[in-house]
Protein backbone atom coordinates (compact mmCIF):
# COMPACT_ATOMS: atom_id res chain seq x y z
CA UNK A 1 0.00 0.00 0.00
CA UNK A 2 3.01 2.26 0.44
CA UNK A 3 3.44 1.92 -3.31
CA UNK A 4 -0.02 3.40 -3.86
CA UNK A 5 0.70 6.30 -1.50
CA UNK A 6 3.82 7.13 -3.50
CA UNK A 7 1.83 6.90 -6.75
CA UNK A 8 -0.73 9.33 -5.32
CA UNK A 9 2.08 11.73 -4.44
CA UNK A 10 3.03 11.79 -8.11
CA UNK A 11 -0.49 11.86 -9.53
CA UNK A 12 -2.45 14.30 -7.37
CA UNK A 13 -0.47 17.44 -8.28
CA UNK A 14 -0.53 16.44 -11.97
CA UNK A 15 -2.91 18.60 -13.97
CA UNK A 16 -3.12 16.23 -16.96
CA UNK A 17 -4.48 13.53 -14.65
CA UNK A 18 -7.31 15.75 -13.42
CA UNK A 19 -8.13 16.95 -16.92
CA UNK A 20 -8.55 13.42 -18.29
CA UNK A 21 -10.56 12.41 -15.22
CA UNK A 22 -12.76 15.50 -15.56
CA UNK A 23 -13.40 14.71 -19.23
CA UNK A 24 -14.45 11.20 -18.17
CA UNK A 25 -16.84 12.49 -15.52
CA UNK A 26 -18.30 15.24 -17.70
CA UNK A 27 -18.86 13.02 -20.75
CA UNK A 28 -20.66 10.44 -18.66
CA UNK A 29 -22.83 13.10 -17.01
CA UNK A 30 -23.54 14.72 -20.37
CA UNK A 31 -24.73 11.45 -21.91
CA UNK A 32 -27.02 10.71 -19.00
CA UNK A 33 -28.34 14.26 -18.89
CA UNK A 34 -28.98 14.28 -22.62
CA UNK A 35 -30.79 10.96 -22.59
CA UNK A 36 -32.96 12.17 -19.73
CA UNK A 37 -34.15 15.19 -21.69
CA UNK A 38 -34.66 13.62 -25.11
CA UNK A 39 -38.33 13.44 -26.01
CA UNK A 40 -39.61 10.62 -28.15
CA UNK A 41 -43.33 10.60 -28.95
CA UNK A 42 -43.93 13.21 -26.27
CA UNK A 43 -42.40 10.90 -23.70
CA UNK A 44 -39.08 11.68 -22.03
CA UNK A 45 -36.59 8.98 -22.94
CA UNK A 46 -35.16 9.33 -19.44
CA UNK A 47 -38.32 7.89 -17.97
CA UNK A 48 -37.58 4.71 -19.89
CA UNK A 49 -33.82 4.66 -19.43
CA UNK A 50 -33.75 5.28 -15.72
CA UNK A 51 -36.28 2.67 -14.69
CA UNK A 52 -34.97 0.45 -11.93
CA UNK A 53 -33.73 -2.25 -11.78
CA UNK A 54 -32.77 -2.27 -15.50
CA UNK A 55 -30.96 1.02 -14.93
CA UNK A 56 -27.81 -0.74 -13.68
CA UNK A 57 -27.46 -2.73 -16.87
CA UNK A 58 -28.03 0.33 -19.07
CA UNK A 59 -25.69 2.46 -16.97
CA UNK A 60 -22.77 0.02 -17.00
CA UNK A 61 -23.29 -0.57 -20.73
CA UNK A 62 -22.98 3.17 -21.36
CA UNK A 63 -20.03 3.46 -18.97
CA UNK A 64 -18.13 0.64 -20.67
CA UNK A 65 -17.52 2.84 -23.71
CA UNK A 66 -15.55 5.19 -21.50
CA UNK A 67 -13.13 2.50 -20.33
CA UNK A 68 -11.13 3.58 -23.34
CA UNK A 69 -10.62 6.96 -21.68
CA UNK A 70 -9.52 5.33 -18.44
CA UNK A 71 -7.10 3.20 -20.48
CA UNK A 72 -5.68 6.32 -22.11
CA UNK A 73 -5.22 7.89 -18.66
CA UNK A 74 -3.26 4.83 -17.53
CA UNK A 75 -1.15 4.93 -20.70
CA UNK A 76 -0.35 8.62 -20.11
CA UNK A 77 0.68 8.00 -16.50
CA UNK A 78 2.98 5.11 -17.44
CA UNK A 79 4.57 6.55 -20.59
CA UNK A 80 5.28 9.75 -18.63
CA UNK A 81 7.53 7.71 -16.37
CA UNK A 82 9.50 6.72 -19.45
CA UNK A 83 9.72 10.22 -20.91
CA UNK A 84 10.74 11.72 -17.55
CA UNK A 85 13.08 8.70 -17.07
CA UNK A 86 11.76 8.46 -13.56
CA UNK A 87 11.03 4.75 -13.98
CA UNK A 88 14.75 4.20 -14.34
CA UNK A 89 15.51 6.34 -11.31
CA UNK A 90 12.98 4.44 -9.20
CA UNK A 91 14.57 1.11 -10.04
CA UNK A 92 17.98 2.60 -9.20
CA UNK A 93 16.55 3.92 -5.94
CA UNK A 94 15.26 0.55 -4.82
CA UNK A 95 12.11 -0.67 -6.57
CA UNK A 96 12.16 -4.10 -8.15
CA UNK A 97 10.55 -4.56 -11.55
CA UNK A 98 7.70 -6.47 -9.93
CA UNK A 99 7.05 -3.49 -7.64
CA UNK A 100 7.00 -1.14 -10.64
CA UNK A 101 4.22 -3.26 -12.19
CA UNK A 102 2.43 -3.61 -8.87
CA UNK A 103 2.48 0.14 -8.18
CA UNK A 104 0.80 0.84 -11.52
CA UNK A 105 -1.69 -1.97 -10.98
CA UNK A 106 -2.68 -0.36 -7.68
CA UNK A 107 -3.37 2.85 -9.61
CA UNK A 108 -5.52 0.81 -12.01
CA UNK A 109 -7.46 -0.63 -9.07
CA UNK A 110 -7.88 2.81 -7.52
CA UNK A 111 -9.20 4.24 -10.80
CA UNK A 112 -11.60 1.29 -11.18
CA UNK A 113 -12.88 1.85 -7.63
CA UNK A 114 -13.35 5.51 -8.42
CA UNK A 115 -15.30 4.91 -11.64
CA UNK A 116 -17.42 2.16 -10.06
CA UNK A 117 -18.33 4.37 -7.10
CA UNK A 118 -19.05 7.22 -9.50
CA UNK A 119 -21.44 5.01 -11.46
CA UNK A 120 -23.04 3.82 -8.21
CA UNK A 121 -23.69 7.43 -7.22
CA UNK A 122 -25.05 8.25 -10.69
CA UNK A 123 -27.32 5.20 -10.58
CA UNK A 124 -28.66 6.04 -7.14
CA UNK A 125 -29.30 9.64 -8.13
CA UNK A 126 -30.99 9.05 -11.50
CA UNK A 127 -32.81 5.97 -10.20
CA UNK A 128 -34.25 7.73 -7.18
CA UNK A 129 -35.20 10.81 -9.21
CA UNK A 130 -36.67 9.24 -12.36
CA UNK A 131 -37.62 5.63 -11.62
CA UNK A 132 -41.26 4.90 -10.86
CA UNK A 133 -40.34 1.91 -8.71
CA UNK A 134 -38.03 3.10 -5.92
CA UNK A 135 -38.24 0.07 -3.64
CA UNK A 136 -35.13 -1.52 -2.15
CA UNK A 137 -35.86 -4.58 -4.27
CA UNK A 138 -35.80 -2.55 -7.47
CA UNK A 139 -32.76 -0.60 -6.37
CA UNK A 140 -30.50 -3.50 -5.51
CA UNK A 141 -31.77 -6.58 -7.34
CA UNK A 142 -29.56 -6.02 -10.37
CA UNK A 143 -26.74 -4.13 -8.75
CA UNK A 144 -24.39 -7.04 -9.53
CA UNK A 145 -23.71 -5.25 -12.82
CA UNK A 146 -21.47 -2.92 -10.82
CA UNK A 147 -18.93 -5.57 -9.74
CA UNK A 148 -18.97 -6.88 -13.34
CA UNK A 149 -18.23 -3.37 -14.53
CA UNK A 150 -15.42 -3.10 -11.97
CA UNK A 151 -13.74 -6.26 -13.30
CA UNK A 152 -14.15 -4.96 -16.83
CA UNK A 153 -12.61 -1.58 -16.03
CA UNK A 154 -9.64 -3.25 -14.29
CA UNK A 155 -9.08 -5.55 -17.26
CA UNK A 156 -9.29 -2.72 -19.83
CA UNK A 157 -6.82 -0.63 -17.87
CA UNK A 158 -4.46 -3.57 -17.34
CA UNK A 159 -4.41 -4.12 -21.10
CA UNK A 160 -3.68 -0.40 -21.55
CA UNK A 161 -0.86 -0.80 -19.04
CA UNK A 162 0.62 -3.66 -21.07
CA UNK A 163 0.55 -1.51 -24.20
CA UNK A 164 2.14 1.41 -22.34
CA UNK A 165 5.04 -0.71 -21.04
CA UNK A 166 5.60 -2.31 -24.46
CA UNK A 167 5.40 0.84 -26.59
CA UNK A 168 6.73 3.42 -24.04
CA UNK A 169 5.64 6.42 -26.16
CA UNK A 170 2.26 7.87 -25.23
CA UNK A 171 0.90 8.64 -28.69
CA UNK A 172 1.89 5.32 -30.21
CA UNK A 173 0.71 3.37 -27.18
CA UNK A 174 -2.73 5.03 -27.30
CA UNK A 175 -3.03 4.29 -31.03
CA UNK A 176 -1.96 0.67 -30.50
CA UNK A 177 -4.42 0.25 -27.63
CA UNK A 178 -7.38 1.66 -29.56
CA UNK A 179 -6.39 -0.14 -32.76
CA UNK A 180 -6.26 -3.45 -30.94
CA UNK A 181 -9.48 -3.07 -28.98
CA UNK A 182 -11.56 -1.52 -31.74
CA UNK A 183 -10.10 -2.80 -35.01
CA UNK A 184 -7.72 -5.74 -34.75
CA UNK A 185 -9.73 -7.94 -32.43
CA UNK A 186 -13.11 -7.26 -34.09
CA UNK A 187 -11.47 -8.24 -37.41
CA UNK A 188 -10.33 -11.51 -35.85
CA UNK A 189 -13.84 -12.09 -34.48
CA UNK A 190 -15.18 -11.62 -37.96
CA UNK A 191 -13.25 -14.61 -39.22
CA UNK A 192 -13.94 -16.95 -36.33
CA UNK A 193 -17.08 -18.75 -35.20
CA UNK A 194 -18.83 -17.30 -32.14
CA UNK A 195 -18.23 -20.29 -29.90
CA UNK A 196 -14.47 -19.69 -30.14
CA UNK A 197 -14.19 -15.91 -30.28
CA UNK A 198 -16.49 -15.38 -27.31
CA UNK A 199 -13.43 -16.20 -25.18
CA UNK A 200 -11.25 -13.56 -26.86
CA UNK A 201 -10.21 -10.73 -24.51
CA UNK A 202 -12.32 -7.89 -25.85
CA UNK A 203 -15.37 -10.02 -26.43
CA UNK A 204 -15.16 -11.66 -23.02
CA UNK A 205 -14.69 -8.26 -21.37
CA UNK A 206 -17.56 -6.69 -23.26
CA UNK A 207 -19.79 -9.60 -22.21
CA UNK A 208 -19.49 -8.28 -18.65
CA UNK A 209 -21.71 -5.32 -19.56
CA UNK A 210 -24.10 -6.73 -22.16
CA UNK A 211 -26.09 -4.49 -24.45
CA UNK A 212 -29.57 -3.85 -23.05
CA UNK A 213 -32.31 -5.46 -25.10
CA UNK A 214 -29.92 -7.77 -26.88
CA UNK A 215 -32.15 -10.78 -26.23
CA UNK A 216 -34.92 -9.09 -28.14
CA UNK A 217 -32.53 -8.11 -30.88
CA UNK A 218 -31.28 -11.67 -31.09
CA UNK A 219 -34.79 -12.99 -31.61
CA UNK A 220 -35.28 -10.73 -34.59
CA UNK A 221 -32.01 -11.64 -36.33
CA UNK A 222 -29.80 -14.62 -35.64
CA UNK A 223 -28.91 -14.91 -31.95
CA UNK A 224 -25.38 -13.77 -31.04
CA UNK A 225 -23.56 -16.29 -28.93
CA UNK A 226 -21.76 -14.63 -26.06
CA UNK A 227 -20.90 -15.35 -22.46
CA UNK A 228 -23.18 -14.24 -19.66
CA UNK A 229 -21.60 -11.69 -17.29
CA UNK A 230 -21.18 -14.37 -14.63
CA UNK A 231 -19.54 -16.74 -17.09
CA UNK A 232 -17.25 -13.99 -18.43
CA UNK A 233 -15.87 -13.06 -15.00
CA UNK A 234 -13.38 -15.89 -14.74
CA UNK A 235 -11.91 -15.41 -18.24
CA UNK A 236 -11.71 -11.67 -17.54
CA UNK A 237 -9.78 -12.23 -14.32
CA UNK A 238 -7.49 -14.69 -16.09
CA UNK A 239 -6.81 -12.04 -18.73
CA UNK A 240 -5.92 -9.53 -16.00
CA UNK A 241 -3.41 -12.02 -14.63
CA UNK A 242 -2.04 -12.71 -18.11
CA UNK A 243 -1.63 -8.98 -18.92
CA UNK A 244 0.19 -8.45 -15.62
CA UNK A 245 2.54 -11.35 -16.26
CA UNK A 246 3.27 -10.14 -19.79
CA UNK A 247 3.93 -6.62 -18.47
CA UNK A 248 6.38 -8.02 -15.94
CA UNK A 249 8.07 -10.16 -18.60
CA UNK A 250 8.48 -7.13 -20.88
CA UNK A 251 10.07 -5.11 -18.05
CA UNK A 252 12.29 -8.00 -17.05
CA UNK A 253 13.61 -8.56 -20.56
CA UNK A 254 14.33 -4.98 -21.53
CA UNK A 255 16.79 -2.35 -20.40
CA UNK A 256 15.22 0.66 -18.74
Amino acid sequence: MNLLRTEFRKIFPYRTFWIILAVYVLLLLLILYTSSSIQINNKALGDETFQLPGLWMRLTYVAHFFNLLLGILVIVLITDEYSFRTIRQQVIDGLSRAEVVLAKFYVVLALAVFSTVFILVLGLYFGLVYSSDKSMQALFSQIDYLPYYFVQAVAYMTLAMLFAFIVRKSGLAIIAFIAYTKIVEPLIHFNLPDHIDKYFPMKALDSLTPMPGQDLFGQLTSPIEQLSPAMATLPALLYVGLFLLLTYAVLKMRDL
Binding site: K10, P13, R88, V91, D93, G94, L95, D255
Partner: protein, 296 residues
Protein backbone atom coordinates in the same frame (compact mmCIF):
# COMPACT_ATOMS: atom_id res chain seq x y z
CA UNK B 1 40.07 -2.15 2.89
CA UNK B 2 36.71 -3.70 2.15
CA UNK B 3 35.63 -3.95 -1.47
CA UNK B 4 32.47 -1.94 -2.13
CA UNK B 5 31.92 -2.80 -5.77
CA UNK B 6 33.47 -5.68 -7.61
CA UNK B 7 32.96 -6.05 -11.36
CA UNK B 8 34.01 -9.27 -13.01
CA UNK B 9 34.20 -9.68 -16.79
CA UNK B 10 31.12 -7.55 -17.32
CA UNK B 11 29.99 -7.20 -20.94
CA UNK B 12 27.17 -5.54 -22.80
CA UNK B 13 26.51 -6.04 -26.48
CA UNK B 14 24.09 -4.04 -28.60
CA UNK B 15 23.86 -6.20 -31.69
CA UNK B 16 27.43 -6.47 -32.92
CA UNK B 17 28.54 -3.41 -30.95
CA UNK B 18 30.35 -4.18 -27.73
CA UNK B 19 29.49 -1.23 -25.48
CA UNK B 20 31.30 -2.82 -22.55
CA UNK B 21 33.82 -5.57 -23.19
CA UNK B 22 34.88 -7.95 -20.40
CA UNK B 23 35.38 -5.20 -17.87
CA UNK B 24 36.80 -6.12 -14.47
CA UNK B 25 37.52 -3.69 -11.66
CA UNK B 26 37.22 -3.25 -7.94
CA UNK B 27 36.28 -0.21 -5.93
CA UNK B 28 37.62 -0.01 -2.41
CA UNK B 29 35.79 1.47 0.50
CA UNK B 30 36.56 5.15 1.07
CA UNK B 31 38.03 5.79 -2.35
CA UNK B 32 36.87 8.29 -4.92
CA UNK B 33 36.91 6.13 -7.98
CA UNK B 34 36.91 7.82 -11.37
CA UNK B 35 35.69 6.12 -14.52
CA UNK B 36 37.48 8.09 -17.19
CA UNK B 37 36.94 7.81 -20.89
CA UNK B 38 35.77 9.70 -23.94
CA UNK B 39 32.08 9.88 -24.80
CA UNK B 40 30.81 6.47 -25.88
CA UNK B 41 33.50 4.52 -24.06
CA UNK B 42 30.97 2.57 -21.96
CA UNK B 43 31.00 4.50 -18.67
CA UNK B 44 27.24 5.02 -18.41
CA UNK B 45 26.50 1.51 -19.71
CA UNK B 46 28.76 0.08 -17.00
CA UNK B 47 27.07 2.11 -14.29
CA UNK B 48 23.64 1.23 -15.72
CA UNK B 49 24.45 -2.46 -15.39
CA UNK B 50 25.67 -2.29 -11.79
CA UNK B 51 22.62 -0.14 -10.95
CA UNK B 52 20.16 -2.78 -12.23
CA UNK B 53 18.69 -0.83 -15.15
CA UNK B 54 20.67 -2.43 -17.99
CA UNK B 55 20.90 -6.20 -18.34
CA UNK B 56 24.48 -7.40 -18.76
CA UNK B 57 25.18 -9.70 -21.71
CA UNK B 58 27.83 -11.47 -19.69
CA UNK B 59 29.89 -11.34 -16.52
CA UNK B 60 28.86 -10.43 -13.01
CA UNK B 61 29.17 -7.80 -10.31
CA UNK B 62 28.56 -7.54 -6.59
CA UNK B 63 27.92 -4.74 -4.12
CA UNK B 64 29.40 -5.26 -0.65
CA UNK B 65 29.91 -8.91 -1.64
CA UNK B 66 26.20 -9.40 -2.44
CA UNK B 67 24.06 -9.29 -5.55
CA UNK B 68 21.89 -6.28 -6.23
CA UNK B 69 18.76 -6.16 -4.06
CA UNK B 70 16.56 -3.71 -2.23
CA UNK B 71 18.99 -3.85 0.70
CA UNK B 72 22.09 -3.10 -1.37
CA UNK B 73 20.29 -0.41 -3.38
CA UNK B 74 19.51 1.45 -0.18
CA UNK B 75 23.22 1.64 0.61
CA UNK B 76 23.95 3.26 -2.77
CA UNK B 77 22.80 6.67 -3.95
CA UNK B 78 23.08 7.12 -7.68
CA UNK B 79 22.49 9.53 -10.54
CA UNK B 80 22.64 8.12 -14.05
CA UNK B 81 23.08 10.59 -16.92
CA UNK B 82 20.65 13.49 -16.61
CA UNK B 83 18.76 14.38 -13.41
CA UNK B 84 15.44 12.52 -13.63
CA UNK B 85 12.48 14.12 -11.85
CA UNK B 86 8.80 14.86 -12.38
CA UNK B 87 8.85 18.28 -14.09
CA UNK B 88 5.50 19.40 -12.65
CA UNK B 89 6.39 18.55 -9.02
CA UNK B 90 8.23 20.94 -6.72
CA UNK B 91 11.72 20.09 -5.50
CA UNK B 92 10.30 19.07 -2.14
CA UNK B 93 7.59 16.82 -3.58
CA UNK B 94 10.07 15.19 -5.92
CA UNK B 95 12.25 14.35 -2.95
CA UNK B 96 9.22 13.03 -1.05
CA UNK B 97 8.58 10.53 -3.85
CA UNK B 98 12.23 9.46 -3.73
CA UNK B 99 12.29 9.29 0.06
CA UNK B 100 9.32 6.88 -0.13
CA UNK B 101 11.15 4.65 -2.58
CA UNK B 102 14.37 4.68 -0.62
CA UNK B 103 12.72 4.30 2.75
CA UNK B 104 14.47 7.52 3.83
CA UNK B 105 13.36 9.73 6.69
CA UNK B 106 11.29 12.61 5.29
CA UNK B 107 12.99 14.94 7.77
CA UNK B 108 16.17 14.63 5.71
CA UNK B 109 14.53 16.41 2.79
CA UNK B 110 14.89 19.95 4.12
CA UNK B 111 18.40 19.17 5.36
CA UNK B 112 19.56 17.90 1.98
CA UNK B 113 17.97 20.82 0.12
CA UNK B 114 19.90 23.15 2.39
CA UNK B 115 23.11 21.20 1.86
CA UNK B 116 22.95 21.67 -1.92
CA UNK B 117 21.84 25.28 -1.60
CA UNK B 118 18.23 24.81 -2.70
CA UNK B 119 16.63 25.41 0.68
CA UNK B 120 14.89 28.56 -0.49
CA UNK B 121 13.72 26.96 -3.75
CA UNK B 122 12.03 23.90 -2.28
CA UNK B 123 8.61 24.98 -3.57
CA UNK B 124 9.75 25.68 -7.12
CA UNK B 125 8.72 23.10 -9.70
CA UNK B 126 11.54 21.08 -11.24
CA UNK B 127 10.91 22.42 -14.75
CA UNK B 128 11.61 25.94 -13.47
CA UNK B 129 15.13 24.99 -12.37
CA UNK B 130 18.33 25.87 -14.19
CA UNK B 131 20.59 23.00 -15.21
CA UNK B 132 22.89 23.67 -12.27
CA UNK B 133 19.98 23.54 -9.84
CA UNK B 134 18.76 20.30 -11.43
CA UNK B 135 22.19 18.74 -10.96
CA UNK B 136 22.28 19.85 -7.34
CA UNK B 137 18.77 18.51 -6.73
CA UNK B 138 19.95 15.18 -8.16
CA UNK B 139 22.83 15.22 -5.67
CA UNK B 140 20.40 15.92 -2.84
CA UNK B 141 18.23 13.02 -4.02
CA UNK B 142 21.19 10.66 -4.20
CA UNK B 143 22.23 11.53 -0.64
CA UNK B 144 18.73 11.43 0.81
CA UNK B 145 19.12 8.35 2.96
CA UNK B 146 22.76 8.96 3.81
CA UNK B 147 24.14 6.12 1.61
CA UNK B 148 27.61 4.63 2.01
CA UNK B 149 28.30 4.89 -1.70
CA UNK B 150 27.52 7.65 -4.18
CA UNK B 151 27.50 6.90 -7.90
CA UNK B 152 27.68 10.06 -9.99
CA UNK B 153 27.56 10.13 -13.78
CA UNK B 154 29.05 13.31 -15.23
CA UNK B 155 27.86 15.41 -12.29
CA UNK B 156 29.33 18.64 -13.63
CA UNK B 157 28.14 18.19 -17.21
CA UNK B 158 26.75 21.42 -18.60
CA UNK B 159 27.49 23.54 -15.53
CA UNK B 160 29.16 26.93 -15.55
CA UNK B 161 32.60 27.26 -13.92
CA UNK B 162 31.12 28.35 -10.60
CA UNK B 163 28.66 25.46 -10.64
CA UNK B 164 31.46 23.02 -11.46
CA UNK B 165 33.53 24.33 -8.56
CA UNK B 166 30.55 24.03 -6.20
CA UNK B 167 29.73 20.48 -7.19
CA UNK B 168 33.37 19.38 -6.92
CA UNK B 169 33.64 20.99 -3.55
CA UNK B 170 30.48 19.19 -2.48
CA UNK B 171 31.87 15.86 -3.67
CA UNK B 172 35.08 16.36 -1.73
CA UNK B 173 33.12 17.31 1.41
CA UNK B 174 30.99 14.18 1.09
CA UNK B 175 34.07 12.04 0.54
CA UNK B 176 35.66 13.55 3.63
CA UNK B 177 32.85 11.92 5.64
CA UNK B 178 34.34 8.56 4.67
CA UNK B 179 31.92 7.76 1.86
CA UNK B 180 32.91 5.94 -1.27
CA UNK B 181 32.28 7.82 -4.50
CA UNK B 182 32.20 6.38 -7.99
CA UNK B 183 32.44 9.15 -10.55
CA UNK B 184 32.13 8.80 -14.31
CA UNK B 185 33.64 11.62 -16.28
CA UNK B 186 35.15 12.44 -19.62
CA UNK B 187 37.05 15.31 -18.04
CA UNK B 188 40.59 14.39 -17.19
CA UNK B 189 41.06 17.48 -15.12
CA UNK B 190 38.01 16.61 -13.01
CA UNK B 191 39.22 13.08 -12.30
CA UNK B 192 42.69 14.32 -11.44
CA UNK B 193 41.35 16.99 -9.08
CA UNK B 194 38.75 14.88 -7.33
CA UNK B 195 39.58 11.18 -7.56
CA UNK B 196 41.94 8.92 -5.64
CA UNK B 197 41.64 6.01 -8.08
CA UNK B 198 40.93 5.90 -11.77
CA UNK B 199 40.00 3.38 -14.42
CA UNK B 200 40.45 4.49 -18.01
CA UNK B 201 37.97 3.08 -20.53
CA UNK B 202 38.15 3.08 -24.28
CA UNK B 203 35.50 1.49 -26.55
CA UNK B 204 34.21 -0.54 -23.65
CA UNK B 205 37.56 -1.97 -22.64
CA UNK B 206 39.60 -1.23 -19.54
CA UNK B 207 42.81 0.44 -20.67
CA UNK B 208 44.42 0.89 -17.30
CA UNK B 209 43.46 1.38 -13.67
CA UNK B 210 45.05 2.21 -10.34
CA UNK B 211 45.69 5.15 -8.02
CA UNK B 212 45.45 8.47 -9.82
CA UNK B 213 49.06 9.30 -8.97
CA UNK B 214 50.33 6.18 -10.75
CA UNK B 215 48.19 6.42 -13.83
CA UNK B 216 48.17 10.10 -14.57
CA UNK B 217 51.36 11.50 -13.12
CA UNK B 218 54.00 8.78 -12.81
CA UNK B 219 54.85 8.56 -16.44
CA UNK B 220 56.97 11.61 -16.51
CA UNK B 221 59.47 12.22 -19.23
CA UNK B 222 63.12 12.53 -18.39
CA UNK B 223 65.55 14.62 -20.32
CA UNK B 224 69.16 13.65 -19.89
CA UNK B 225 72.34 14.94 -21.43
CA UNK B 226 76.02 14.27 -20.92
CA UNK B 227 79.32 15.32 -22.35
CA UNK B 228 79.34 12.25 -24.57
CA UNK B 229 75.97 10.75 -25.48
CA UNK B 230 77.25 7.46 -26.94
CA UNK B 231 77.83 5.65 -23.59
CA UNK B 232 74.48 7.00 -22.33
CA UNK B 233 72.64 5.53 -25.30
CA UNK B 234 74.48 2.22 -24.90
CA UNK B 235 73.51 2.01 -21.26
CA UNK B 236 69.88 2.95 -21.93
CA UNK B 237 69.70 -0.02 -24.33
CA UNK B 238 70.59 -2.34 -21.50
CA UNK B 239 68.65 -0.92 -18.56
CA UNK B 240 65.49 -3.03 -18.17
CA UNK B 241 63.19 -0.33 -16.82
CA UNK B 242 63.48 2.12 -19.69
CA UNK B 243 60.15 2.19 -21.53
CA UNK B 244 61.44 4.14 -24.51
CA UNK B 245 64.06 6.69 -25.42
CA UNK B 246 64.95 8.88 -28.34
CA UNK B 247 67.85 11.16 -29.08
CA UNK B 248 67.13 14.75 -29.86
CA UNK B 249 70.02 16.98 -30.87
CA UNK B 250 72.29 16.98 -27.82
CA UNK B 251 69.95 15.34 -25.31
CA UNK B 252 67.88 12.18 -24.88
CA UNK B 253 64.19 12.05 -24.02
CA UNK B 254 63.09 8.91 -22.26
CA UNK B 255 60.24 7.46 -20.22
CA UNK B 256 60.58 4.92 -17.43
CA UNK B 257 58.43 1.94 -16.65
CA UNK B 258 56.01 2.11 -13.77
CA UNK B 259 57.60 2.10 -10.31
CA UNK B 260 60.92 3.64 -11.34
CA UNK B 261 62.04 7.19 -10.94
CA UNK B 262 64.80 9.50 -12.03
CA UNK B 263 66.73 8.48 -8.89
CA UNK B 264 67.13 4.92 -10.19
CA UNK B 265 68.40 6.16 -13.51
CA UNK B 266 70.86 8.56 -11.96
CA UNK B 267 72.22 5.89 -9.61
CA UNK B 268 72.71 3.32 -12.36
CA UNK B 269 74.33 5.80 -14.72
CA UNK B 270 76.79 6.84 -12.06
CA UNK B 271 77.51 3.21 -11.11
CA UNK B 272 78.46 2.54 -14.73
CA UNK B 273 80.77 5.52 -14.78
CA UNK B 274 78.50 7.79 -16.80
CA UNK B 275 78.14 11.25 -15.35
CA UNK B 276 75.12 13.15 -16.52
CA UNK B 277 75.36 16.83 -17.06
CA UNK B 278 71.60 17.26 -17.04
CA UNK B 279 68.69 15.25 -15.64
CA UNK B 280 65.32 16.91 -15.88
CA UNK B 281 61.96 15.34 -15.05
CA UNK B 282 59.28 16.85 -17.20
CA UNK B 283 55.65 16.03 -16.66
CA UNK B 284 53.71 15.49 -19.81
CA UNK B 285 50.59 17.56 -20.05
CA UNK B 286 47.57 15.64 -18.77
CA UNK B 287 45.72 15.93 -22.04
CA UNK B 288 48.67 14.48 -23.90
CA UNK B 289 48.89 11.57 -21.48
CA UNK B 290 45.18 10.94 -21.70
CA UNK B 291 45.20 10.93 -25.47
CA UNK B 292 48.19 8.57 -25.40
CA UNK B 293 46.45 6.23 -22.97
CA UNK B 294 43.26 5.98 -24.96
CA UNK B 295 45.07 5.77 -28.30
CA UNK B 296 47.55 3.03 -27.50
Amino acid sequence: MAIVLSIDNLSKKYGSLKAVDSLSLQVEEGSIYGLLGPNGSGKTTTLGMVLDVIQPTGGSFSWFGDGISKATKQRVGAILETPNFYPYLTAKRNLQVIADTKGADHQNIAKMLDLVGLGTRSNTTFKGFSLGMKQRLALAAAMLNDPEVLVLDEPTNGLDPQGIAEVRDLILRIAAQGKTIILASHLLDEVEKVCTHVAVLRTGKLVTDGPVGNILSAKEQLIVSAEYLAPVLQLLERLPYIAQFAQEKDYVILTLQEGYSSTDLNRDMFAQGVVLSQLVARRKSLEKQFLEIIKS
